[in-house]
């Protein structure tokens, strides 16, 4: 208990404020496909560049982060493409939660022009031509911004 109190005091003494709006560059760790994800589903991200305040690295490259499928519209009829909206949510660093904002939209290709090469399904209403699904490959870059000021321990 004394150790915990001591650690707390030390952390409070040496901290840096990460200001709201600071940009964080993130990359996806696995492909995200509009066919297999659900709205609200979370996925893993990783920080790709050090985030610094002054000369101090407050969020090191390689820090894990979490994103979310914010919106998803499925492939529509008449060759409409799927649309996938991804948003970075938060990351944890030094025991602190840092909430992030930002969105990135990925759209599949509309299929109205090249209907011959797109998926053709025989449905209840006859022929239904669907557009392409939207896929975000591994390593895709998302930008997040820090949502509110966060006090972080110095590294």
């Amino acid at each position: 208990m004394i150790l915990a109190a001591l650690a707390l005091v030390l952390v409070q003494q040496e901290q840096t404020v990460l200001p709201a709006g600071t940009s964080v560059r993130l990359a996806t760790l696995a492909p995200i496909d509009s066919r297999s994800v659900k709205q609200g589903q979370r996925f893993a991200l990783r920080v790709t560049e050090h985030v610094t305040v002054g000369s101090r690295v407050v969020i090191p490259r390689g820090t894990d982060a979490v994103g979310e499928v914010e919106a998803l519209s499925g492939k529509g009829m008449f060759g409409k493409a799927a649309r996938l909206t991804l948003a970075p949510l938060f990351l944890d660093v030094g025991g602190q939660r840092v909430n992030l904002v930002g969105t990135s939209v990925e759209k599949g290709h509309d299929a109205t022009a090249g209907a011959a090469v797109t998926t053709v399904v025989v449905g209840a209403f006859g022929l239904i031509i669907t557009g392409k699904s939207a896929t975000v490959p591994t390593g895709s870059i998302l930008f997040g911004r820090v949502r509110t000021d966060v006090a972080l321990p110095q590294r």
Partner: protein, 185 residues
């Protein structure tokens, strides 16, 4: 502050706590007031900007809903402060429809603008912020194409309604620091 002084302060604080824990010497002045004997409720503060994951419980759409309509959401993930759950899964929260653009007949897509209001935990309201603009999918071009290709079926399509579907996830953020009473008492 040197480490020695710091240690001394921490040890002093710890010994004070030990003394307080010993029930040997009840405070003479307050002995007649029973409430004083009860330990003070441990206060936790739910900090401003804490994320709350919410799920829409009933569909909200640009066809049936008007500005001012309230809708109910459910907390989808425990909110914890220092390992203690202060807002459990299943807690109710409320949102409000701010703006609606009806679906047009020529394929204009509907629009729905909603915001989060508050959640109700342990008898208190905790204000939330968070906005979501949901545009209906379906552009003019596609609806027209639909009319041409499918006749009556295409006419029925119109533009799609903008919806917040039941089960959809929204994230809210607390608006202010809120003292919470620990549920473990």
């Amino acid at each position: 502050m040197s480490i020695n002084a710091l240690l001394a302060a921490v040890i002093a604080a710890a010994s004070v706590q030990q003394q307080a824990a010993e029930p040997l010497a009840p405070p003479p002045a307050a002995a007649t007031v029973p409430e004083v004997l009860a330990p003070p409720a441990p206060k936790l503060v739910l900090p401003k900007g804490t994320m709350v994951r919410l799920m829409v419980l009933k569909e909200v759409n640009s066809r049936d809903n008007r500005p001012g309509d309230r809708f109910v959401l459910r907390v989808d993930e425990d909110v914890r402060v220092g390992g203690v759950t202060v807002v459990p899964i299943g807690t109710k929260a409320w949102g409000e429809v701010v703006g609606v653009e009806r679906t047009g007949g020529v394929g204009k897509s509907g629009k729905l603008n909603a915001r989060l209001l508050y959640l109700e935990a342990a008898g208190q309201r905790i204000d939330l912020e968070g906005e979501r603009q949901s545009a209906g999918s379906g552009g003019t071009g596609q609806a027209v194409a639909g009319v041409v290709a499918f006749g009556l079926f295409g006419l029925l399509m119109k533009g799609n309604n903008a919806t917040l579907k039941a089960g959809e996830i929204l994230n809210g953020y607390t608006l202010a620091d809120t003292p919470m009473v620990s549920p473990h008492q």
